[in-house]
Assembly symmetry: C2
Homo-oligomer: 454 residues x 2
């Protein structure tokens, strides 16, 4: 029965059931979300103890509300974001408090009549320049919240200073409660089932590489049996989700950047020491997206119904399928070597196989000087070949970036191991150079390789 | 003299000069940023008048700090964002205040001993479920800040209610000052040099289309004279910024989505009535990015040094250059018709020319059944052709989306005009159908056209 034809009470029920299902799915997709909700509730309950327990209440007084406010505003999903906000809030409050008291004393030198005017001007100028500073990219990225709190606290201290005489005592109390709130957030966020932005960035990078790998392997499957159109179409429909997963990679930039930003604040955790090369993940992310753009181009040829295969097509198709499979395998190996911080030596082999296949294709194409087939029919396969070659180039740059990551991450590994890796690396570079020469020789100058390196 | 070899005082000076230049550039790039800073400072100065002027101070009292806090937190760059935050804050405070007082009375029924425990449990449950609700995509997009303020206010009212007897009076005062703060922000943000998120989204959409158009026209230029390699390279270097501008389109998704989100809150302004179809801009954005991915593929062929032209290449190159130019022109016309809310009739002509050129290419290719040239040499040109054909298809879908936008935006236009538009549209659809048949006939089944439509 469709929703449109239901009686209204059933409609309401259907909507409620639908809503409950969505909520359940949200929880199931990432159970850490449920945990996060309880963590926030726990932090607020702990901090509101200040009100319930008399001795504490007498000590801190009415400013206890600032502790609750701090918890609500500072507690974020990942530990890094909470730390970032907590540190920003604490330091900005301290700095703004000191400056605010300074501004108050400066203004009081001008006599009681001029004091509010001088204070007003000071607040106006400082707020305007601090607001403008939020447009500076570096500050926006890392200290945006701190500047906001700076503006807030400075205005409050400077303005309320005009009325409240015991301003220093008040500032002291407020700072104490804010530190209490921040500390509660940071401790709970780090100690109770922590959600690390760094670990999330790491697994996002791995899963993005795996999504591209799945596509390439899936494409190889579809491409392998073009004559059995019905069969292919059916399997393509079945695997559609599998083959469209890569699309989320295309728009992963903002998520990656914010995660890397929060990861910068995090202490060492699990496999990640403090000062882990998070920036390198962003580089890998850029190259992964570059590869995803090429895959987007390839995606258009997923449903192409090839003409009855000519001899040429059969000869080109085989190495192309191999390139697609091997490129997928190389990406999978790269993903696993990112995951385990190992040197990506096994993927080097797959990349080499890819390159051999590229060579094979170019030999085939070179031998096909005088074609006995319709050029129109060969367009899809030639385009696919050319896109696949671009993808192999992309994978090489990803390889180099992951190699760099593994070196940066394992800087403390013994010299001996490093030497071994270097030899392996030299081998790859040498074989790489050979293949590059081959490609150049075979006049496959589709794209300036140096451009990619630069 | 390089910075590394300078004496330290000169180094400091160089850094300061560099910093000042950067700040100046920020202001010059978008002078509205400077205006925004002064607007925030003005709002805070206005609100802090509450403290300076005695009569007002007596009325509202110490809670005046809430007005300052509201201004600092609510005042955002665009009017839509300010409205969104202001409305969220006002409504959430009201709702949470009422619920908080209700919770307090409910808890007081259990007697003085059980009261803090019941209140604590209530706060815990409500905070946990409200925090979880922030993961629901719809709430996250539009009411995230409201839920935050709800949690904050509910905790404050419920907890402070345990101590402060005159809770209703306090809540009333606090709500008043928050409304004062929100109103100040909203009025200043809308009346003093407003920055409209909607207008920004509109111009972003237009400029993204123009960037793609510039690339295609530039590509046509470079592609036209492949034999004069030196000349081409020089002009390519000169125009590099021009040809790489499209890259910002690739990652425009998050900006577009947040602008569309804020635009939803804005009242009618300038050319945009309330309820302007902002969602359609997001659709156009998705299609524009799709086109940008293809252009990214084309970008790889910008520096290809073509082999001495064979007859085949010359024959294919001419219509390809035409496709590139005409596609660029079509996009430019589409951009201007988005800008002016007009029906994109002139771009229909350019699209038609593109399609004729596509037909010409396919005829050429069909005639080249038996090739007398090296297949390897023709790979770049065949790939370029195939990508250009994909781009033409993308532009058609963008055309359809912009057509829909112009219809939605001009819903109030007279029926007569609509009819005229429909005829024109029918003409385009008919010619489109003819070309589609031609393309199908010529076996250029590079991609399932229906897939694009769906």
């Amino acid at each position: 029965m469709e929703v449109a034809f239901m009686p209204s009470y059933l409609k309401v029920r259907a909507h409620v059931v639908d809503f409950v299902n969505k909520i359940q799915k949200l929880g199931k997709d990432d159970p850490r979300r449920i945990m996060h909700s309880f963590k926030v509730a726990l932090a607020i309950t702990l901090v509101s103890m200040v009100y319930y327990l008399r001795p504490l209440y007498k000590g801190i007084g009415d400013t206890g509300i600032w502790a609750i406010m701090t918890v609500v505003v500072v507690f974020e999903y990942t530990a890094g974001a909470t730390l970032s906000k907590g540190m920003n809030r604490g330091l900005a409050t301290l700095l703004a408090g000191v400056l605010g008291i300074g501004a108050k004393y400066l203004a009081s030198l001008f006599g009681p009549k001029a004091e509010p005017i001088v204070l007003g001007c000071l607040v106006f100028l400082l707020v305007a320049s601090a607001t403008f500073s939020r447009f500076i990219p570096h500050i926006k990225r890392r200290y945006d919240y701190g500047v906001l709190i700076f503006i807030l606290t400075f205005s409050l201290v400077a303005v309320s200073g005009y009325r409240v005489d015991k301003i220093i005592e008040l500032a002291h109390q407020r700072l104490l409660t804010i530190i209490l709130g921040c500390a509660t957030c940071i401790i709970i966020s780090i100690c109770v089932c922590p959600v690390w932005a760094g670990a999330d960035l790491h697994s996002l990078t791995v899963s993005n590489l795996e999504k591209l790998a799945s596509f390439l392997e899936g494409f190889g499957d579809v491409f392998e049996l073009p004559s059995e159109v019905d069969n292919t179409n059916r399997s393509a429909e079945r695997d559609r989700s599998f083959l469209t997963a890569y699309q989320s990679v295309l728009n992963s930039k903002s998520t990656e950047e914010s995660l890397a930003n929060f990861a910068w604040w995090e202490p060492g955790h699990g496999k990640f020491p403090f000062g882990h090369p998070w920036k390198q993940y962003l580089k890998i992310g850029v190259l992964t997206r570059q590869c995803a753009y090429h895959i987007e181009a390839l995606n258009g040829y997923l449903d192409v119904k090839y003409k009855a295969s000519s001899e040429f097509q059969i000869r080109v198709q085989e190495p192309c399928t191999k390139i697609s499979f091997e490129a997928g395998k190389a990406l999978k190996e790269l993903a696993s070597s990112v995951n385990l911080f190992t040197y990506p030596s096994s993927s080097a082999k797959h990349i080499q196989t890819c390159k051999n296949a590229v060579e094979e294709v170019s030999t085939t194409l070179q031998a096909s000087m005088v074609g006995q087939w319709d050029v129109l029919d060969t367009i899809p396969i030639i385009t696919i070949t050319s896109v696949l070659i671009d993808i192999v180039k992309c994978i090489e740059t990803i390889f180099a970036a992951i190699e760099e990551l593994s070196q940066q991450a394992n800087a403390e590994v013994s010299l001996d191991k490093n030497k071994k890796q270097k030899q392996c690396h030299d081998g790859v570079v040498a074989s790489h150079a050979v293949v590059t020469v081959i490609i150049h020789k075979s006049a496959l100058e589709l794209r300036d390789v140096e451009d990619h390196r630069g």
